[in-house]
Amino acid sequence: CQKSFLELDPPSQIVESNFYRNENEATQALAGVYHVLQWGQWLGFHPSHAWSEAASDDAYSGGGSQSDGVGIKALDQLRTVTLGEQTYRGLWMIYYNGIARANVFLSKIEKVSASEAFKKQAIAEAKFLRAYFYFELARWYENVPLVTVPLSDPSQYNQPQATPEAVFNQIAKDLEEAISGLPRQSLKQTGARATQWAAKALMARVYLFYNGVYNKDMNAGAVVVNKELVRTYLEDVITAGGFVLTPNFADIFRKSNELGLESVWEISFSDTNPASGVDNQRAGQGNFSVHMFAPRGITDPTYTAGWSYSPITESLYAEFEVDDPRRDETVLYGSQFSKITKSWQYTGYFNKKYSTHSEYKATTGISDANWGNNYRAIRYSDVLLMAAELWLNTDQGKANQYLKMVRDRVKLPETPATVETIRHERRVELAGEGIRYWDLLRYGLPYAKQKIDESSLRGAQYDGDQSRFNMNWDVSKRGRLPIPQVEIDISKGVLKQNEGY
């Protein structure tokens, strides 16, 4: 009798043993995996998108002051990285959280009472998401533990790092398995859930990165993922996916074009279920990069002030051909605002593609943490440029044709597809979209260093000492973040620090 008096169950909480029972609950659990895609903040402010911009030659780190976001500051040159800096642990935690949710989901789904069709697609979605998280993780940290089952016992907690090869093979395997289970539908048709097109395009992106950095093919189980396979995948996306390039480049990033015909994979953000403030961004659905990018101190009817992170460099501005209409759709000019705080590494250029434009503003009154801009993770033009790159010297006509399609849209003259013209086109076409840095790394460390060092170039609107803009990229760190020192400490040395740190 006394025992039952003390055995109180949580009155308003479901416990694990009473969950994962039916389709409805499985759908809720799967939404919980998707949710991690939206996370931008944990132990400091670091959406992957804003970080990869800051790390590239397209943007500096920026922010309010020298002491604002010190972890992000170090991304500029990877030269002043403080190993113990807690913000480097943030991305690590975010992606492993997503992976753990996917692992739990995949371990529970078999026992859910649901139709086989439901299970097949749900498993494919979870694997797609797990691949997405691992790809982000492996790009940032390179040498990461590979966990594909729930770690339920403390004796399993301490896992050593896997080789990049093993991790990328797992990514390839998850994507390969996802492809067969995902619908050949547009994102609008699936309601923003993963599609087969998204998985195929992501496979190509993963392959290009892995092959660029390690010069190897991947093994998705028995399937060898090589140039030919990903070319086939991209051709399928191009010929059967029904994608088109949005006629007017400026329209791509308009709200009306979310999940539009150019979107191969998109992460959905909104102000539904808003977070109460930037300190609990994870509780909401908002795109935190947008707030990070926005100019500081402005008062404007169209744009809302933000934190002035990742300001665009003169180097990117100068990369655009003079009559390229994309330049003014990529760069938001500080000079257009009557008042502005010229904060750290002020260049006068901000990210316009992911801007605090009023059409995306939350209707809740707390806009900062709840920007609704969907992240266009893979655009059709990216697919075309990847295909062009993969056809180079194999089917030069196709390569030229795909490059031409991208340039035609912005009414620029045709140029023959070469390594250099495609690199240029990727940079200007996809600027501000979190893609450039990874391209730099796959083009090779010397190339990355050369380009990042060239971004020391001073622009006319720059504010402050030139020493703030002088880039001298530390190539010894291979462009990767340190393994979070706290994690190494917790592992009692099982985790090894990355090269260069």
């Binding site: 969950f19 002491s67 659905q285 402005i298 009154g365 592992s491």
Partner: protein, 1021 residues
């Protein structure tokens, strides 16, 4: 009519004395009868059997007992007696309240401190916890902030946990979470159980000490009505000087020049003094008032007391936006139903409401803004040209539109605008009631059964209007939120107690059982777009945007089941022994460990009762020792740490077939459960002594204790690859060692002039002795841009400050160049003269986080209190002083991360050129050396202070005068709280508490304690 056998009157120095108990005894006839003096001091014995050898014994609390003997009673004649009682100077006969009982102080062998009615009534504190501040050794009370209604921080014998270190409060036997609901005027006494042996009877909840509060009970005699009231005014006791507008402009120019940038202000003097934001923010003569009326009366069989009180306090910052009001109604009654049966009940209802503003916060704190906002911006903007450019949502105040800084476009805002838009409003209704029945079963054997409830309804309303304070502090759509909580706790307790003396042997025993259950339910909602701008009409029904409506609701509960027992034995009052044990079960712990047992033993030796002891000067000398164990089940917000909860709110934005976005609520596993979780246990040994000498003129007590808390509850660091939040585990220990001294003096210099003084001094040393995480440390609160500053680490005091050591400033380039590591490389390559020389503490040739070390300790070494009271004829004067020594504070009121923020004037003492002896580094817009954004010892200040907490002068009307107006005990007084503070600390207030042991001692603009002058009166009818 019968002639009374005996009639008499009892007096003391001041006049007649009511309530004295008189025992008429005739030993040879084995006869005994009791009478009590009435309000005029008159007592009578109506019919005493005639006989010889009568004696009359007069006793009354606080007075020496007197016996008059050798009287003969004859039938028909009256014996008249006149007695003058002498105030007792010895404290030995005093009674202390212990868990589930009371005990004579002379027989107490544990460390218990008591605060009596005299002291509480004299202080007239707004909250009863404040009566403990400085009044007894070993108890540290710090105002968290000076905001009205704010809960102070209490630590008994140091901080023993990383979880909630608040003591357990037990009011009239009923455990409550806080005691803020109590009207201090209703309190009879407070007893603090400090050592484990005294608190072990409270088992799983005694680890942080136990505060036993006893409310007043009715007094036998005719009904009397007492009024107490005061009115006071409060002001800030200091402000922090900051740069005026001219100095500010000059400083900004200097910062620009040092960064090789063009100066911004061509003519700084044109700005004059500019705005003094603190003058604008501090409320002048903020009122505080209290009224209390109580009625008491009773007979031999029944007595009651009932009281009503009203307390109201406005803050010294924020006016009526920072306000606390409390109404209490209490009834305590006891009734002797039969000779063997007594019943009673206490009923307390409290209604309180409070409003608060943001304090001690770097972002949005009103005082932080008042320090950091530039002095060039006006309080109100009056320039029509500028106003034309103001946004529609600019905040409007009483006298116009609040100024918006043109210099600081984000960051600090106009603090008055911040106050204007603050509309958080809390209301609490609390009904606490308990009833008991006590049965006298047999000689010395009693059974008491009690049942109590605590029902609290808490509601919160928040209205955020549309506003624009700057580009980062704004709101486009107004919002209204309301929430309600119902917190209901019941407790049932059955206690059997026995006490009997056989010759020189005295035995006592207590055996009991207790069960408690708490259920909390909550519900809340919000909606956007309020139709009016009136905060008083901010209800959800009046918010227009129905589609934005949100609701939430949930519940949690917990239960405790306990069994306890205690035995006492003493031989001839010389040798004292006591032992207790409690077995406690809690629903909050792992299903594998629901129960735990907490034992204690204590013993004492009253040397002064030994026949060989013949030191005349010493009246009493007692040595005592105790040991025991206690638990702490107060483990933070997750009340089901053993359960694997599924957390909703983890959804995603999908789109429907028509393309519209919708939120689909998703779920994910919460923190990892730990079914093995058990209590946090504290083990304490105490050795003490009590002495009284020179006929009780002096009393002295001393204690030495060692308190080790183990199995601290942590969220350990687990590898992030696990992907879920770490479970609570038991792993970690903290030790507190200390010495407590109390010295009392009490004397009548002449019959008209009395003086008493109490001094207490406590020393405590805190050390973290184990943490089972990889780094053996836990990071605490962060500070703008520099990460964690408070830290918990093995070998260090809990919450210590972690940062860089410095060795002065570089005076010239040669010094910079010479500051090299073993390889000849510059340690601070970006430094220039005037920058800080940070120390490469670990000597690894680089300056980084590994060089961070302890730069300060927010825990005081010594806390002390001194209370002196003197009465001369009708006048009384008392002075109460507290002090804290050895603690450090981080003065973090300056927003160094905002380059054009204003700064405290102390920063004028900055490096300006070679040979400068300044404390602070050069001011520059381009701080490449990280002078500011490396937390270093430069910003740590000594927090020692001595504070005249209360100084009071009273005058009591002579009773013959008062009686003419049918009053008695009429006293008027003038009191000053926080009259002086002696400190070297340069921020708003060195008295800074915190609820979390790992976020303490950082001043980011703390709401200071007010200096208050009060005029009060009390009278009895």
């Amino acid at each position: 009519q019968t002639t009374p056998s005996v009639k008499g009157v009892v007096k003391d120095d001041l006049g007649v004395l009511a309530g004295v108990s008189v025992i008429a005894e005739n030993k040879s006839a084995n006869f005994k009868q009791v009478s009590v003096a009435n309000e005029n001091g008159v007592f009578t014995f109506a019919k005493l059997p005639a006989g010889e050898g009568y004696s009359f014994t007069f006793s009354f609390v606080g007075y020496e007992t007197q016996t008059l003997s050798g009287y003969t009673i004859k039938d028909g004649s009256t014996v008249s007696l006149a007695v003058t009682m002498k105030e007792s100077v010895t404290s030995l006969n005093q009674v202390v309240v212990i868990g589930y009982g009371t005990q004579k102080k002379e027989k107490t062998v544990t460390a218990i401190s008591s605060v009596g009615q005299d002291f509480i009534n004299k202080q007239q504190v707004p909250r009863i916890e404040q009566a403990l501040q400085g009044s007894t050794p070993g108890v540290m009370v710090l105002g968290a902030t000076g905001q009205p209604g704010e809960k102070p921080m209490i630590r008994i014998r140091g901080t023993g946990t990383n979880q909630n270190p608040d003591p357990l409060y037990v009011v009239d036997g009923f455990p409550v979470e806080s005691i803020e609901y109590l009207n201090p005027g209703d309190i009879d006494r407070i007893d603090i159980l400090k050592d484990a042996a005294s608190s072990a009877i409270y088992g799983s909840r005694g680890a942080n000490g136990v505060v036993l509060v006893t409310t007043k009970t009715g007094k036998k005699g005719e009904t009397s009505i007492t009024y107490d009231g005061y009115y006071g005014i409060q002001n800030n006791w200091r402000s922090v000087p900051v740069l005026n507008a001219t100095q500010y402009a000059e400083m900004m120019n200097e910062g620009a020049l040092n960064a090789k940038q063009p100066i911004k202000y061509a003519d700084p003097s044109a700005f004059g003094n500019g705005t003094n934001w603190q003058d604008a923010v501090f409320n002048k003569n903020a009122p505080v008032t209290n009224h209390q009326l109580s009625v008491t009366g009773g007979t031999d069989k029944a007595n009651y007391i009932t009281s009503f009180s009203y307390f109201s306090q406005q803050g010294i910052v924020g006016g009526d936006k920072s306000k606390f009001d409390r109404y209490t109604l209490r009834f305590n009654g006891d009734q002797k139903v039969k000779d063997f049966l007594k019943i009673g009940a206490n009923i307390n209802y409290t209604f309180s409401e409070n409003k608060g503003i943001s304090s001690n916060a770097a972002y949005g704190g009103v005082l932080n803004n008042a320090i950091n906002l530039d002095p060039i911006t006006p309080v109100y903007e009056t320039d029509p040209v500028k106003l034309a450019g103001y946004p529609a949502a600019a905040v409007v105040g009483k006298n116009g539109i609040y100024g918006i800084s043109n210099i600081l476009l984000d960051g600090p805002t106009n603090p008055l605008a911040g106050i204007e838009i603050a509309n958080a409003y809390n209301k609490t209704d609390k009904l606490l009631s308990n009833a008991y029945a006590e049965l006298n079963i047999w000689k010395g054997l009693k059974f008491k059964s009690s049942f109590g409830i605590d029902l609290s309804n808490y509601s919160n309303k928040n209205y955020s209007p549309v506003y624009f304070m700057n580009s980062a502090s704004k709101r486009d759509i107004s919002s209204v939120a309301q929430s309600y909580y119902r917190n209901y706790t019941w407790q049932i307790e059955n206690v059997l107690s026995y006490s009997e003396t056989f010759g020189k042997h005295t035995f006592g025993a207590v055996l009991g059982q207790s069960a408690l259950k708490q259920t909390v339910e909550n519900m809340g909602g919000s909606r956007l777009n309020l139709l009016t701008n009136d905060p008083d009409m901010s209800y959800i029904d009046l918010a227009a945007d129905i589609n934005s409506a949100k609701v939430n609701g949930g519940a949690y509960n917990r239960a405790l089941a306990s069994y306890f027992g205690r035995i006492n034995y003493d031989y001839d009052g010389k040798y004292l022994l006591s032992g207790s044990i409690r077995r406690d079960g809690s629903s909050r712990f792992g299903r594998n460990n629901p129960y735990a047992t907490f034992p204690s033993v204590s013993g004492g030796w009253v040397i002064s009762r030994e026949s060989f002891f013949n030191v005349k000067a010493i009246n009493s000398l007692k040595l005592r020792a105790s040991w025991g164990q206690n638990g702490n089940e107060n483990i933070g917000t997750n009340v089901y740490p053993w359960a694997a909860g599924v957390q909703f709110g983890n959804g995603y934005t999908f789109v429907n077939s028509s393309g519209a976005e919708y939120y689909y609520n998703g779920a994910a596993l919460g923190p990892i459960p730990n079914p093995d979780l058990r209590w946090e246990t504290s083990e304490q040994t105490d050795i003490g002594m009590d002495i009284e000498f020179l006929n009780g003129k002096f009393s002295f007590s001393a204690d030495y204790y060692v308190k080790n808390t183990k199995d601290l509850l942590f969220n350990p660091s687990i590898p992030a690859i696990v992907g879920f939040t770490a479970p609570y585990v038991n792993g970690g220990s903290v030790s507190n060692k200390g010495v407590e001294l109390g010295l009392g003096y009490r004397s009548s210099i002449t019959s008209d002039w009395k003086i008493s003084a109490n001094l207490n001094v406590s020393y405590n040393k805190n050390e973290v002795t184990a943490i089972n995480t990889a780094s053996q440390s836990v990071a605490g609160s962060g500070f703008i841009g520099v990460g964690s500053v408070n830290r918990m680490e093995v070998g260090m005091p809990i919450g210590y400050f972690w940062g860089f050591k410095t060795v002065g400033l570089f005076q010239n380039q040669a010094e910079v160049d010479a500051y090299v590591n073993a390889d000849g490389k510059k340690l601070l390559p970006n430094a220039v003269p005037g920058d800080i020389r940070f120390l490469d503490l670990n000597g690894d040739g680089a300056i980084n986080d590994k060089d961070k070390t302890m730069i300060g300790n927010p825990n005081p070494d010594f806390t002390t209190g001194l209370n002196i009271t003197t009465n001369y004829k009708q006048f009384d004067l008392s002075v109460f002083v507290i002090g804290m020594f050895g603690q450090d504070l981080i003065n973090g009121i300056y927003r160094y991360d905002i380059r054009e923020a204003n700064m405290p004037s102390s920063y004028l003492d900055r490096w300006t050129g070679e040979g400068s002896t300044a404390k602070y580094p050069r001011f520059t817009f381009d701080d490449k050396n990280g002078n500011r954004n490396r937390m270093s010892d430069i910003y740590v200040e000594k927090g020692d202070f001595i504070r005249f907490k209360n100084v009071q002068l009273g005058y009591t009307l002579p009773n013959r005068l008062a009686n003419k107006a049918k009053f008695s005990n009429v006293r008027v007084y003038l009191a000053a709280d926080n009259l002086f503070t002696i400190t070297n600390y340069s921020g708003f207030d060195p008295e800074i508490g915190a609820t979390n042991p790992l976020s303490i001692g950082i001043d980011q603009g703390v709401y200071p304690q007010a200096r208050t002058f009060r005029l009060g009166i009390s009278a009895k009818l």
